[in-house]
């Protein structure tokens, strides 16, 4: 059922060194994940979705940045699939796609927070955009 982006999948597998085919869908990674409730896509979904080539939703999801990289999923996975490495790889691809543009003007309103000094936003905007 490979309908998605195969080039991207290849790249992710190469970066991470993970073989998602080894996953037997037990969900122990997600069972052990401390950031589970924060995430839209959970560790086991990363594995399944990458395998299916359904990667865009992952790239656009905040889940990427909710992963604590605690490696509990890697430690507990009975098949040695290492989901955290896959999350890391997706994160890397997302970062690379942005180029030097780490912050878009559209992102700013969402980041606004009463406690945050305006100056910080402005300097971040300078620093993280091309």
């Amino acid at each position: 059922m490979s309908h998605g982006n195969n080039n991207l999948k290849e790249e992710l597998l190469r970066i991470s060194g993970v073989n998602p085919k080894k996953c037997m869908r037990c969900g122990k990674c997600s069972a052990t994940c401390p950031a589970y409730d924060e995430m839209e896509y959970h560790p086991h979904q990363f594995v399944v979705m990458v395998e299916e080539g359904n990667i865009e939703p992952l790239l656009n999801s905040d889940s990427l940045y909710k992963c604590l990289t605690c490696f509990a999923c890697v430690e507990r996975c009975p098949r040695g699939v290492e989901p955290a490495k896959l999350v890391e790889a997706v994160r890397l691809v997302a970062t690379r796609r942005q180029g030097a543009n780490h912050l878009k003007p559209d992102d700013v309103p969402g980041k606004l927070d009463e406690d945050l000094p305006q100056q910080a936003i402005v300097s971040a905007f300078r620093k993280y955009t091309k």
Binding site: K28, A31, P78, G80
Partner: protein, 664 residues
């Protein structure tokens, strides 16, 4: 020089249609050694065979070549024909000019040319054939069963039933094995003891069966039909023949703090003990690691209370030597250690238990007399979480778990869940599973009953973490169907631990030269067609020593192994395959290369005396092939650096002669 007869078969038009049979028989007449050559419509027919028989007699043939169909079809036929005419059957070679010539090639010149070449190769081979006689060896009509669990018990009973004497060697003080520890059995839920203990009694009462309990196999020598076995009967410090099993000693023994292995350490026994009420033999055993008398020389209570005078502190290990014709391995399994699975807090909380421990907790003869109580505070648990596949199907954690599926866990977990809900409907039961595997008669129905009738909560997903907090166990798991992480406050967590072969199996396999896989399960001679035989002739496999198995499967394999043993013991003599390896001792280096590749352990080494040209003698290590054990694969012949090892019937010189004839 051989006198060879060549017989070319037409096989009606099957061969004659694409091969000029007349030309073939004419051409082969000119080959070295050939004194007679003919062709006939159907060589395998009565008349055809008669032609061969007559020619053997008339032309004093020493070897024959039949150019016909595949040897897999009629080699046996023509060997019999030759034997009937007084020729050694192994002087027959077949040139396959039907399946591998006339049927696959289209025109007559091509077919004829190839048929001639194949015929020449067969003639070249027969020129180097030598008469072979199959070896014979007697059969000791007694079987040894190693392991006294349900597999060993059933095998022994079946063999004894056929009238052959059987010895069971069991390392524990009683037979019964794992099944004796179980409470109920799936899928019928009859009590394990109710169906097992009568069988144990049958074993004890069967006069064909001897039980060596508290004993281990020390050494195995010999080969199929003729094994010499040394059995070590460990000192139990109780005279078995005198002890009545009254149990007085086990009540009076002052050493009360010995972990009871039968209840998996969940309660204590005395230093002198009978493992359980229905033990066979029902004889007490003193545990030398705990007995004050044996350790310090002061106590002697058991001796004083024993009215039969059975206690013998001076008893020594005893070696029993016996001959056997067949050996059945039934060494069984154990759950793997849970210590390394920190995430389940097995070693942190008494209330995280294995399924086997759960069996004891629900067993009427167990530490809680059958009441389901938490080990930590003996309270009744209201929420129970079962975790499946703990250590099974675990690929990356070789030091922790096993790569294979343990097969029995799905079913016993369904059983446990169902029993809990049946006895204690106020208890919530959750089962976390990856897959539920229930192939087997009435198995899936059983599992569905647990869900549908008993309301067990089956959740697809694994438990990630168990944290003891107060008197609760915080269970964090994933529910893959609902795509959420679930948190359950459980009172009891039951781990379906993977099973592994008993630790005694590996050294035993070495003794038996029986092969094992990387998981230490015994390998079968053929995975489909010979599932109860080990590749080592005369060694049979019964039960979980060969792979994870439930009771019905174990019992059927036990019966199958028994029938194989009976088939072997029913023979007075074993006739071997004469096409076996044989070493040229003059050329043998004794280097052990051949031994290492032999799948059957047929090769041993002896120090042999050689007379040297200068009239001195020399002792040198040389290989010997046991003709009763060798199956004739020829692996050794290539491993041998000096070429000392050769294979009868497929000798190097013969194969080279064929190569030469084909390439000429």
């Amino acid at each position: 020089m051989q006198r060879i007869g060549v017989f070319v078969c037409w096989c009606g038009s099957n061969i004659a249609g694409t091969v000029d049979v007349q030309a073939v028989s004419e051409a082969l007449k000119l080959e070295p050694g050939v004194v007679f050559s003919t062709n006939y419509q159907y060589m395998c027919s009565q008349a055809g065979q008669q032609i061969i028989k007559d020619a053997i007699k008339e032309h004093k043939l020493t070897g024959i070549v039949v150019c016909s169909c595949s040897p897999r079809m009629h080699e046996a036929t023509f060997r019999k024909t030759a034997a009937a005419a007084g020729l050694n059957p192994y002087m027959v070679e077949i040139a396959n000019i039907r399946e591998q010539c006339s049927w696959v090639h289209k025109d007559v010149p091509t077919g004829t040319e190839k048929a001639i070449i194949l015929g020449k190769a067969a003639v070249a081979k027969v020129n180097l054939n030598a008469p072979l006689t199959p070896g014979e060896s007697p059969v000791t009509k007694r079987a040894l069963v190693i392991g006294g669990g349900i597999a060993g018990i059933q095998t022994a009973l079946d063999i004894a039933d056929a009238g052959f004497p059987v010895d069971i060697v069991e390392k524990k003080p009683t037979i019964g094995g794992k099944m004796a520890q179980l409470d109920k059995t799936f899928p019928t839920l009859d009590c394990a003891a109710c169906i097992l203990t009568p069988k144990m009694v049958d074993v004890a009462q069967n006069e064909k069966i001897r039980i060596f309990s508290y004993s281990e196999v020390e050494e195995v020598k010999g080969f199929v039909g003729n094994f010499d076995v040394k059995i070590k009967k460990k000192a139990r410090y109780v005279n078995e023949d005198v002890c009545t099993g009254c149990g007085a000693c086990t009540e009076k023994c002052p050493q009360k703090k010995v972990p009871n292995e039968f209840n998996l350490g969940m309660d204590n026994r005395r230093a002198i003990y009978i493992p359980f009420a229905q033990a066979v033999p029902k004889v007490a055993t003193i545990d030398p690691n705990y007995c004050t008398m044996l350790k310090t020389g002061k106590c002697g209570v058991c001796s004083k209370v024993c009215t039969a005078g059975a206690i013998d502190y001076k008893q020594q290990d005893q070696i029993i030597e016996e001959k056997y014709g067949a050996i059945v391995v039934a060494t069984g399994f154990n759950p793997i250690s849970m210590d390394k699975f920190e995430e389940y807090a097995y070693s942190q909380s008494k209330d995280v238990i294995t399924s086997l421990e759960f069996e004891r907790l629900t067993n009427a003869a167990g530490p809680t007399a059958g009441k389901l109580l938490r080990p930590s505070d003996l309270e009744h648990p209201h929420t129970i979480v079962f975790v499946q596949c703990v250590g099974s199907r675990c690929e990356n954690c070789a030091e922790k778990g096993k790569e294979y599926c343990s097969k029995i866990c799905c079913m016993y977990t369904a059983k446990h869940a169902m029993l809990v809900r049946d006895k204690y409907p106020d208890t919530e039961v959750y089962v976390f599973y990856i897959d539920v595997r229930t192939p087997g008669k009435n198995f899936d129905e059983f599992y569905r009953r647990a869900v549908e009738e008993y309301g067990v909560h089956y959740i697809k997903g694994m438990v990630g973490k168990v944290t003891p907090e107060g008197n609760k166990l915080k269970v964090q798991a994933s529910d893959l169907i609902m795509n959420k992480q679930v948190h359950i406050d459980a009172d009891l967590v039951v781990l379906a631990a993977a099973i592994e072969p008993d630790k005694s199996a590996r050294p035993l396999a070495t003794m038996l030269t029986a092969s094992m896989d990387t998981n230490d399960f015994f390998t079968e001679a053929h995975p489909k067609l010979r599932p109860v035989e080990s590749p080592t002739a005369g060694v049979f496999l019964s039960g979980a020593c060969q792979g994870p198995k439930d009771i019905p499967e174990t019992v059927s394999q036990a019966g199958a192994a028994a029938s194989k043993v009976i088939g072997l013991l029913a023979k007075d003599k074993l006739t071997g395959n004469p096409c076996i390896a044989s070493p040229n001792e003059q050329m043998c280096n004794g280097c052990s290369s051949c031994e290492r590749v032999c799948p059957y352990g047929a090769i041993t080494y002896v120090d042999k005396e050689f007379r040297m040209p200068d009239r001195t003698t020399l002792m040198r290590r040389v290989a010997q092939v046991n003709p009763a054990v060798c199956q004739g694969c020829g692996a050794c012949t290539v491993a041998c650096p000096s070429g000392a090892m050769d294979l009868r019937g497929f000798a190097s010189a013969q194969i080279i002669a064929e190569v030469d004839a084909i390439c000429k």
